[in-house]
Amino acid sequence: MKNKRGEEKIISIYWFFILIIVAGGIILMVRTFYNDPYDVREIEASLLAEKVANCIDLAGKMNPDLISNDGIFKPEFKDHFLSRCSLNFNSENDLKAIQYYLEVNFYNDKNTKTSLFQLVAGNSNWKSDCDLNDKKYKRLVVCVKKKFYANDNSGRIYLVDILSMVNKGDKNVQG
């Protein structure tokens, strides 16, 4: 009878030990799985490019604030590019460098080598990193290149080339 009681005690200690191991294992699994952040920079860069495209091109016609009826690009738009497109590149921390870069080139649809006009905003320091292998260097910037055709009020067609860049490696990538 006494022996049986002792045995029960040992078994209950054993079960408690197993419970701790299983619970610890589950906690470890969840922690390992969810500890790494989600890298959303590609979507962020795409959304940024889409926002700029919507600012430049309004339902198939180019923004009249950007280009005149004579096909002349307006430098005022270039000077106030971010505010005209309702964008704010200021980082949450004043000491931190700007984490975004945008470059928009306008080409004649027949000559896609010489840019007719360029809009630039943000931090261009990481531009050279766009050509590097993003699988090998995960912490580097994510670059998204988009192209589309737009026409002005006079029917001239332009190829719009957008380069959208997001850094924010410390928030999106671990290790």
């Binding site: 054993y14 299983v22 699994m29 799985f33 500890n35 989600y38 590609e42 979507i43 016609k61 192209k147």
Partner: protein, 110 residues
Amino acid sequence: MFRDKKAQVGDTVTWIIATIIIIVMIFFFVLGSSLLSETKKIVGYKSSLFSNNLLYKNDFFISKSLYTYYQIINSKDKTTLMDGIKKLPVEEYVEQTLEQRSNEIKLRLG
């Protein structure tokens, strides 16, 4: 007495093996979760983790170009523009083809 001892040893061995199995299983689960956990890159909008349907019905930039295409009157310019649109890089996660999207926009614009 001897029989009792034998039964006890048998029981203990069972529990030890069970414990080892549990620990090994947990080890593999932790290993699996650490392998799956590497930074998850989100590139498209999926309705669920296992869904094949992405919410990108069409390519945003191709659509923009197609709206431009339907605003051009000159047929020569139209042909050149369509050739250009066909050469544009297409988003990986889209349901509609260029022709389908073109027909949809054509219908929408009347």
